[in-house]
């Protein structure tokens, strides 16, 4: 029983964590909280089903195509929902523009794909019906692989360092000749792919369903707040903790009450540590 709860909790938590990382990547590149993050997760599942089940592609080309599709949506997000409002960040217009674009993605998916949940293909075929079922461990593996990959990218590659540079101070980065706009677009493509990976790896659990985006947007934001904005490792720990806590609360208290419990704990944590459990307090110029 404990194994079943832990397996499901870690799996769901890993998906939330990856959506949190998606928020973080977009935020680092643009200082914008893009509410399309959850929709990237939804699209990962939908495009996976579309490519593998409907188009009949083998798993690896299907996966690659799904990731490319999500990355492209990430770029489109930057162009039409983020770039036009960058000059007025203090007015928080991005809330409206990214939410509006998220709604467009969701509605388009509902019309063109299906309004009913669709099955996601079985990817490997290991452990069906057991706590070691692939649907539980695939999201966890994807989550840790992503964090490892991002660390390598940011610490060991020139492009990664350039990402960090614009995240740190985009005016200075531009002054040094870095192509800020291109790097921002690349960041959004990366975020799209990471969000898509969340939906693809968690597809067997979440199914391919147009309404998953809103749920992922919501629960994916919690690890960001818990872990500290821009802190990927914090998002992973926050996401996994959220998933396990949520499943345990479902077992101990049941559905709707469990949701209340999750958010009660979330609010308490933010009251104690407003910058998140792993975030540094914001410095104030004096």
């Amino acid at each position: 029983m404990l194994a079943a709860i832990l397996a499901a909790g870690l799996a769901v938590g890993a998906v939330y964590a990856l959506i949190g990382v998606t928020y973080n990547i977009m935020f680092s590149a643009s200082r914008v909280m893009s509410f399309t993050s959850g929709q990237m997760g939804m699209l990962g599942g939908v495009l996976g089903t579309l490519c593998i089940s409907r188009l009949g592609l083998p798993i690896i080309p299907g996966f690659v195509l799904a990731m490319v599709g999500c990355a492209a949506i990430g770029v489109v997000t930057e162009v039409i929902a983020v770039r036009p409002v960058l000059k007025a960040l203090d007015q928080h217009l991005y809330v409206l523009s990214t939410l509006g674009f998220a709604l467009m993605i969701q509605t388009f998916t509902a019309i063109e794909f299906s309004t009913e949940p669709q099955p996601f293909p079985r990817l490997i075929g290991i452990g069906e019906g057991n706590p070691w079922d692939e649907k539980f461990w695939l999201p966890v593996v994807a989550c840790f692989a992503t964090i490892g990959g991002l660390e390598l990218l940011y610490r060991r590659t020139l492009v990664g360092r350039a990402f960090l540079a614009i995240a740190e101070d985009n005016f200075a980065a531009r002054a040094l000749g870095l192509p800020e706009r291109n790097l921002r677009m690349a960041s959004f493509a990366l975020a799209g792919a990471v969000g898509g990976l969340a939906g693809f790896a968690g597809g067997e659990l979440l199914l391919a369903f147009f309404a998953n985006g809103a749920t992922l947007n919501f629960f994916g934001f919690v690890p960001v707040a818990l872990g500290g904005l821009g802190n990927n490792k914090g998002a992973v720990i926050g996401g996994l903790a959220l998933g396990v806590f949520q499943q345990a609360a479902n077992f101990l208290m049941g559905g709707v009450v469990a949701s209340v419990a999750v958010f009660a704990v979330f609010i308490v944590v933010l009251l104690v540590a407003p910058q998140g459990l792993f975030g540094a307090p914001a410095a104030r110029r004096v």
Binding site: M1, A4, I5, A8, A11, V12, V15, A110, T115, E116, P117, Q118, P119, E128, G129, N130, D133, G202, L205, L206, L207, F209, A211, N212, T215, Q247, A248, N250, F251, G254, G255, V256, S259
Partner: protein, 394 residues
């Protein structure tokens, strides 16, 4: 001879008026039926079936010369499942289109918003919604339910659990939508009143990715049957998958959505869909001999090749046919499309034999569906839109 300007205008107006007079004055006024339904959007599935029945019955009646020489004209509006749009559509068909009766809207949320508007206009309305509060002959004397109510669905599940499955310990689950929450509360009350031991109850977010914890709680509490009130095929399939993964062969009984074709795609193994029983209707169920009741078998044979039944439910189609026939018969018998006369006629119906079920109304009872017409069906047995009766029925 000189023609004055006044004579010229008068003659021209008279000539131009001839087609209009022919259309409106000499031809019999059509019987206009407002048909409000969710033609598009996530809640459109039932409308596909309803509409086939509505159009089929209308074509049949009009093809035979109409009702007392009056053709039926369907005035349809797409409410998209949105109560606001449903309210606008209701006001439009009543005030501008001057319909004589309304069928729909086709889901309970919209009906809650539109029923009082129809009542104010004294508009004869046939209600295809299950929420109990939609029917009140004092507040809404114009509204007649042509489907079972929530209570009747619940009653069918209770009778099946008690008389056929012979279980005592029940787990009641529902999705966290407006419908699910109200069905959960009604079901809790009625099962308790009927002497069942409710060992677990849970209102579950339909987007919850894994319902194993909920099923573990139910199993640990000793549940002998899972009663499910959800319209979400995703949640229903997750429940069946979790039950299968736990190797727990407890029966699942509840909402008709347990039998939608989508679930067949979502269960991990076809066997996970066994031992699942959904609310169904005797007229639209295959008996132990594998046949539909005669009238419905004849109907299925008659529509074969005209429209498919495999992608919808037979009872939705039958309900659409019954709605048009109920209105047409009221006009035929009373000789008028006056709203008071239609309502008065419906109030006299006793065991009116529809395709969907038998309807009985009186001035104080507008829940027309017969309890015994609501039965349980095997969820995974759909063919041609109808299901096998669940084991245990004669």
């Amino acid at each position: 001879m000189s023609i004055s300007r006044r004579t010229l205008f008068g003659s021209t107006a008279a000539v131009l008026a001839i087609p209009a007079i022919a259309r409106h004055g000499l031809a019999a006024e059509p019987i206009r039926i407002g048909w409000l339904a969710t033609f598009t959007g996530p809640l459109a599935a039932p409308t596909i079936g309803f509409d086939r029945g509505v159009q089929y019955a209308t074509a049949l009646i009009n093809g035979a010369g109409g009702v007392n020489g009056r053709m039926i004209e369907i005035v349809s509006r797409d409410t998209q499942g949105d109560p606001t749009k449903a309210v606008n559509a209701t006001q439009d068909v009543i005030s501008r289109q001057k319909v004589h009766a309304i069928f729909g809207p086709a889901n309970s949320g919209e009906l809650l918003a539109t029923t009082p508007i129809m009542a104010r206009a004294k508009m004869p309305s046939l209600v295809p919604g299950v929420v109990n509060s939609l029917i009140d002959p004092v507040k809404f004397p114009n509204a007649f339910r042509v489907t079972p109510s929530n209570q009747q669905w619940d009653g069918a599940v209770r009778r099946y659990c008690k008389d056929i499955l012979k279980v005592k310990k029940v787990a009641i689950t529902a999705d966290a939508t407006g419908y699910g929450t109200s069905a959960h509360d009604d079901s809790m009350a009625s099962f308790k009143a009927d002497g069942f031991d409710i060992v677990y109850d849970g209102v579950i977010d339909p987007a919850q990715p894994d319902v194993t914890p909920d099923l573990l709680r139910a199993r640990n509490a000793g549940a002998e049957v899972l009663v499910s009130w959800t319209v979400s095929s995703g949640m229903a399939a997750r429940m069946m998958n979790a039950r299968g993964a736990l190797n727990w062969d407890v029966p699942i009984a509840g909402h008709p959505a347990l039998g939608t074709g989508e679930i067949g795609k979502l269960v991990n193994k076809p066997t996970y869909w066994e031992n699942v029983f959904q609310v169904g209707y005797r007229n639209c169920s295959y008996g132990p001999d594998g046949k539909l009741p005669k009238a419905n078998a004849d109907f299925v044979a008659a529509v074969k090749g005209k429209f498919p039944l495999s992608d919808t439910s037979l009872w939705w189609v039958c309900s659409g046919v019954d709605a048009i026939n109920l209105i047409a018969e009221a006009v035929a018998k009373t000789g008028s499309s006056d709203s008071a006369k239609i309502i008065g006629h419906w109030n006299t119906l006793n065991m009116w034999p529809g395709l969907y079920g038998h309807y009985s109304f009186s001035p104080t009872q507008h829940n027309g569906f017969l309890d015994s017409d609501v039965v349980m069906s095997k969820a995974n047995s759909q063919r041609d839109g109808a299901f096998d009766l669940a084991p245990g029925y004669a």
